[in-house]
Amino acid sequence: MSHTHTVKRYSGLMDWLTTVDHKKIGILYLLAGGFFFLVGGLEALLIRVQLWKPLNDFVGADTYNELITMHGTTMIFLAAMPLLFALMNAVIPLQIGARDVAFPFLNSLGFWTFFFGGVLLNISWFTGGAPDAGWTSYVPLAGTTYSANHGVDYYVLGLQIAGIGTLIGGINFLATIINMRAPGMTFMRMPMFTWAIFITSALILFAFPALTVGLVALMFDRIFSANFFNPSGGGNMVLWEHIFWIFGHPEVYILILPAFGIISEVISTFSRKRLFGYSSMVFATMLIGFLGFMVWAHHMFTTGLGPIANALFSIATMLIAVPTGIKIFNWIFTMWGGSIKFTSANLFAVGFIPTFVMGGVTGVMLAAAPADFQYHDSYFVVAHFHYVIVGGLVFGIFAGLHYWWPKMFGRILNETLGKWTFWTFFIGFHMTFFVQHFLGLMGMPRRIWTYLDGLGFNEMNLISTIGAVLMGVGTILFLLNAISASFKPKNAGNDPWEDGRTLEWTIPSPAPEYNFKQTPLVRGYDAFWKEKMDGHKGMTPAEPIGPIHMPSPSILPFFMSIGLFIAGFGFMYARNWGHIGPLNTGYTVAVIGLLITLGCMALRSIKDDHGFHIEVHELDDKGGKA
């Protein structure tokens, strides 16, 4: 095949703005998610400084409510999810033997919408007030009567735009995993991380539309004077809680299932053993995903839904402990009889097990509705969810980052720094959050700006603050590790851990632009390990060497996201920006923004893009370059 059209190739900044390559998009997610993780972490430290002693006035009460709202919102939507997407993008196509995701253009769009949604949300700090009604944004507090400034508008529009990105990502990975697995990779031969992402993507597909609906309704209440949640207009405030939590509960499973997948990979690799009970693990993950949609009202036990609802949701919530327990025991028995190497990645994975179990059991305690009448909205809940999100998800992310860093960047992170990162973060974490269980039980509600002296809260709050500082130190150590690693040569080799079991370890580090020179033939579960045990150095190819078709880069996703960003401002400030002639300025700006987005979409639909080919003679030149 000969091609006479010129191949569009960018370099430098333009390369990153136009890339549709899943590997580069993974790095973009890592950088942006990492940045927002630092922002959220700073917000956490400010919160803990305010709380280190009673009746403190380090920040004002208004600012405090902004800090807790932004800490939660940033960490969940702008840090945790993007960091997971970073690993999903970096790893999934490699693990299934594919050359990219199913829809590379959409992949880029997903990143840029997340990025601009996150920027929009954080601009609120500089324009008169961040949202301050909690990350759960309950009405009536979040309505215009009680939150008259634009803070909650930034929440609504920022999350709406960022949420589009997540939904796109979910659809993309579902299509990728269903359609693009290498020959021989049946569903039951997929790595556990791939299974976890597959089920997570299904959860995203069904849960994020609920958030979209809720945010649209709140947007219409605030910006167009609708009455979805306004009782005097025929609406109901409890409706918001239902809609939010029908999204919100599956959301936390969206956060943790990928971490479960990472743990399965890391523990298995560094124990030199296959995952114990693979089919049980797959089944348990599916069950967790399914049950995750059945339990949302356990966030609403004190709302007044009545005893029948409370009883049913108590039982359903307790049931989730069963498949989760199955997974914990299967990980332990994966290590049983193995040869365990404690790399930094494995320290995080093994540290995850007892920590997540502690979070899980407090979850079962919370599931008992009458006891929850005491725990709800107290520091007991704060302790629980930080144990599962930080002790679960963040440990998982650290494990995954240490594990897959060489595949992404061609360098291994420094193991000594990694161990220091682990211990400071691990000890700091338990210091911060273990005492909070007791604070809650002793009568300290959550989301309080300060607390009185003499109630018995002082010492534990001080310990908690010191722990938080230690976690900050651990985070900085990781950053230093990442930065100093970037000065080392890219000489990691295909299988730097030497015990790689899955397909990503069969190709160079970092992976070449086209991933696999030849799509591999998969002959069993743990495809690479199987070849190793049969005495082969690498995979058997499933196709001859030939030119490789690649998707073209495009600047359109970047501009589509900017259009939505501009539209967000227009809608928000429509009530403040007056008129130009007969036109409302804000709505005009909003329409211009939407036209930019629609125009880009039209361009994409009308222009025929056939991609380009990497020719056989170019294949070896591309090896080893990011």
């Binding site: 709302t303 307790m318 008992a368």
Partner: protein, 349 residues
């Protein structure tokens, strides 16, 4: 694997220690771990059951994890490939069935308690009915059986069932007296909620708002004061007595024009804001400035000092509250009104 007596040997002292840790943890007027009434006791019982079962799970997981990471760590120079085990059907069944059994042990009392605690005493002639209305940032208590309205402090007869019906006048709040009962949300408009509790022991119990409601969410404390039934009857009578205005005409004029447009004393004044009848006898001013003749912390002071401080600058005490900037008082008027209110006491104990 540990055999049974070893497990028991390790389990028993841990259980004992945990019970000790949990047993009297925290103030008896504030801690859910130190229940002072039957509802909080029932909830604490469920907590203890849950903690015991969950501690068992945690101990087993921790023990297995520690065993595995010590016993199977890679020794130096060991390059053997361990035996690859696909799984074990029997184990899968064990660690599925045992957790289910544990959940049944927890689930049955849970469901029983859910229904027990949902009993509606609003039509019970023996119960004291209290309508709780939450505001930014104060609590209104109405006793429909006696035609009484008060604020911030709920006086109740010891041992009697108190039937609460709660709703909010503005945003969502949550009514929580940890030592006596779990919380119930107060929702706006028609989503009224009911709960009940009782306080067999006399004393003052601390109440907290437990739903983010604005900047002063953490300062929206209230009190529940349990007194013997004779004292309660005296209180009911005393609070309905007529209340004289300040003796000084200048102070009285200021009080009437600047305070009684929003507040009420006796039969004078407006209903929308905290009722000030008997405010001199309450445990705190503004819910958060604790009245004491022996102040120890910066939120404590004498009744007069607290009233003066609050009325002078409410915004400094409770940011975002609706009394800020609502009026202008001269120093004389401020002192006079604070003095007057500090003397508005009720004799009932």
């Amino acid at each position: 694997m540990m055999n049974r007596w070893q497990l028991g040997k390790r389990l028993a002292p841990l259980m004992a220690m945990m019970m000790l840790v949990l047993a009297a943890c925290g103030r008896e007027d504030l801690s859910a771990l130190n229940p002072q009434g039957p509802v909080a006791e029932e909830q604490f019982g469920l907590m203890k059951l849950a903690i015991t079962i969950m501690s068992l799970v945690v101990i087993i997981v921790f023990a297995l994890t520690f065993y595995v990471i010590i016993r199977y760590r890679r020794r130096k120079g060991d390059n053997k490939v361990p035996k690859q085990v696909e799984g074990n059907h029997k184990l899968e069944i064990i660690w599925t069935v045992i957790p289910i059994i544990l959940l049944v042990i927890l689930g049955v009392p849970t469901v029983q308690s859910v229904f027990n605690l949902s009993k509606d005493y609003s039509n019970d002639p023996d119960a004291v009915q209290v309508i709780v209305t939450s505001h930014q940032y104060w609590w209104e208590f109405e006793y429909p059986q006696y035609g009484i309205k008060t604020a911030q402090e709920m006086i109740i007869p010891a041992g009697k069932t108190i039937s609460i019906s709660t709703k909010s006048a503005d945003v969502k709040h949550s009514f929580w007296i940890p030592a006596l009962a779990g919380k119930i949300d107060s929702n706006a408009a028609s989503n009224e909620n009911k709960m009940y509790f009782s306080a067999p022991k006399t004393g003052v119990y601390l109440g907290k708002c437990a739903e983010l409601c604005g900047p002063s969410h953490g300062l929206m404390d209230f009190k529940v004061k349990s007194v013997d039934s004779a004292s309660f009857d005296r209180w009911v009578a005393a609070i309905q007595e007529p209340v004289a205005l300040p003796s000084d005409p200048a102070v009285a004029a200021a009080f009437e024009s600047k305070c009684l447009s929003c507040h009420a004393v006796g039969d004078k004044g407006g209903p929308a804001f905290p009722n000030l009848t008997g405010i001199g006898s309450r445990a705190s001013v503004g819910g958060i400035l604790v009245n004491t003749d022996d102040p120890e912390y910066s939120n404590e002071g004498s009744v007069y000092d607290n009233l003066y401080r609050w009325i002078k600058d409410p915004e400094a005490v409770k940011p975002g509250n609706l009394m800020s900037d609502a009026y202008d008082l001269t120093e004389q008027e401020l002192q006079g009104i604070s003095q007057y209110l500090s003397e508005l006491t009720l004799e009932y104990e």
